[in-house]
């Protein structure tokens, strides 16, 4: 018995030592110097090519920004796009090949053979993680973009991408749009007294029983637009599963969902009938095409969600906000798709809004 114990302890000790040496070696690698350099958002110094014409993004939120700022420089998608998401995207872009993304199924050879000038890594983790990805791309610079998946800290990431993509004007345009809407919403929200704020539940999954706790970046829009997230549980950041009983107890005034199945069934599901939001027909479906307006990913696409959520929560206070016009402007400027009047009306009325 003792003998075996010692053996195991020795074995573990050996492993720990080897692992520590490994980490040390990992930190030693990386770094070379030449002329045209740029510092990415995690602080790595990267050699840039003279011109950036072909770009591949490894994560959904940086892909959104890439699509907004320089769609013609995209060489492929990081993930498969659904039919629903492709409604308002021209064939030129939706038919680009899919090479997979960083956290999941990136096929490095496919990406390299598409011959990109640079690679974008959205919120890549630690410097070590990003370096590890860089190693797979060899000479092709991989740039980390931070804040791309959080609506409240997104501006620096837009600026950074505008700069490296050679689209600084477009980036400024997007930031202006963001600031304009945000200021309007903020000033109105500031006048709403605490006790009149609506309690909002964000429902995921066909059964509507998945959500995000208050404080999560996925539900930033509720906070920005002066709502109170109904899910007051201590687990931050991550998604939470909630029970019907809790929802009945919280009794939200408004329900926002990204799930069509749930939206279709909520008004007829007997379990949900006691909820204020259901009684008052205050359930709203987030528009999805070409990107989700509310979260998933919680990035630049949700800028369009600011005026929408504001209208959803406080239609009376935002009467003077021209959501139709804002939508058309956003789509033509940043989604490269000119919506007709009918299409705008369709998008907004399908989301459950009565006036816009």
């Amino acid at each position: 018995m003792n003998n075996q114990k010692t053996l195991i302890i020795i074995a573990i000790a050996i492993i720990v030592v080897i692992a520590l040496i490994g980490t040390y070696m990992a930190y030693q690698g990386a770094g070379s110097i030449s002329n045209n350099q740029i510092t990415d958002m995690i602080g790595r110094t990267v050699d840039m090519p003279a011109e950036v014409n072909r770009v591949y993004s490894l994560s959904s939120s940086s892909t959104v920004q890439l699509y907004m700022l320089a769609p013609d420089k995209m060489v492929g998608w990081d993930a498969q796009r659904s039919k629903e998401e492709n409604v308002y995207m021209s064939a030129k872009y939706k038919n680009l090949p899919v090479y997979g993304g960083g956290k999941k199924d990136a096929n490095y050879e496919s990406i390299i053979s598409s011959n990109p000038d640079i690679i974008l890594i959205g919120h890549g983790g630690t410097v070590e993680d990003v370096n590890k990805i860089q190693q797979k791309f060899g000479h092709i610079p991989a740039l980390d973009v931070e804040g791309d998946n959080n609506l409240t800290s997104i501006v620096p990431s837009i600026k950074f991408l505008g700069n490296i993509l050679g689209e600084s004007n477009k980036a400024e345009e997007l930031i202006d749009y963001y600031n304009r809407i945000l200021n309007q919403v903020n000033s109105t929200v500031a006048t709403i007294p605490e006790n009149e704020k609506k309690k909002v539940y964000y429902a995921q999954d066909p059964d509507g029983l998945k959500s995000y706790a208050a404080g999560a970046q996925h539900t930033n829009l509720i906070d920005i637009c002066g709502g109170v997230n109904a899910v007051q549980v201590p687990i931050k950041k991550g998604g939470v599963a909630v029970s019907m009983e809790l929802i009945i107890k919280w009794n939200p005034d408004v329900i926002i969902t990204s799930n069509q199945q749930f939206y279709k069934t909520v008004y007829s599901n007997p379990q949900w009938q006691t909820i204020n939001a259901v009684k008052n027909k205050e359930v709203y479906l987030v528009p999805q095409s070409p990107y989700n307006w509310f979260e998933g990913p919680p990035g630049a696409n949700t800028i369009m969600g600011i005026p929408w959520t504001a209208k959803v929560l406080y239609p009376d206070k935002f009467k003077d906000m021209d959501l139709k016009g804002l939508t058309k402007e956003f789509y033509s400027n940043f989604y490269h798709y000119n919506l007709t009047d009918e299409q705008v009306t369709d998008i907004l009325s399908c989301s459950g809004l009565k006036e816009f």
Binding site: M1, N3, Q4, L7, I8, A11, I12, I14, I15, I18, A19, G22, T23, M25, A26, G29, G76, P97, V98, Y99, G100, K103, K104, D105, A106, N107, Y108, E109, S110, I112, S113, N115, G125, T126, E128, D129, K132, I133, Q135, K136, F137, G138, H139, I140, Q204, K210, H218, I235, K237, G238, G239, V240, A241, E295, G296, P297, P298
Partner: protein, 325 residues
Amino acid sequence: MIIPLILLFFISFLIGRYPVSPNEVIMAIASKLSLINSTLSPAVNTIIFDIRLPRILAAMMVGASLSVAGASFQGLFQNPLVSPDKLGVSAGAGFGAAFAILFSASVFMIQFSAFAWGIIAVGLTYFLGRTFKGTSMLTLVLCGIAVASFFSALLSLIKYVADPYGQLQTIVFWLMGSLASVNNLDIIIMGIPIAIGTIILLLIRWRINVLSMGEEEAQTLGVNTKRLQAIIIICCTIVTASAVSICGIIGWIGLVIPHIARMIVGPDHKVLLPASIILGAFFLLLIDNVARTITTTEIPLGILTAIIGAPFFLYLLMKSKEVWS
């Protein structure tokens, strides 16, 4: 037997989504050894040395280590249904990785956590098995099943609270097993424990023969069975945990390959272990070549090993008259 493996090793450099000619491979290797000054594009160099080379080495190492651990375990437990994860190493590693992913740890910490928890799970199994009064190998397997399901429950709990758009995807993908992000440093870190464990197993391979006759018989022959069992379990666990921590959970290799090896070379562990190593390396390299070539995105390796492994295993069962006695 080793010749097809060497052949496949070289052919694997030519397979992939990025077209590389045999000439370029030879040139790249020659220039790496500074025999010639190459005029190759840096892309080709990256493809060969940073993408294909680590994957090829990792596939061979993982295939070999899972197979040698499987063969040793099947001998140790005198049971053809045992695979190297029977004592909970994969479940523990899966939990460890998910736990690290939940806290947004770095890639290295995820690997280390997977490795450490894999070892902890087997350690738990082992000490539980020793504590209970029945000291048979069967008790150990039963403890392994209990510990494994305990850790899978913990894993489910983590998946339950993970962020569905970020962490959950990472966890699920990790669990399916992939060699896509393996780099040269991983090979070194993983290679050392795998090499140590495998060499020890190879050195004591004739003793596994004695054990597979039964514990009592082995004791009458003067073998310290308890110590031998412990050594085999430790080596197999380290080898498996290293493989799993880098590549995620890759099933079926450890179960199927020893059987195929046994059909070819017979049940003598003296030749069975080396045969398993070679066959395992060959098989996983073959499957990984498919995984990285078949679509523009990556197919997780664990999926392919099960899709190919399970029917193949059934086919072998039907064909062979292999007898366990």
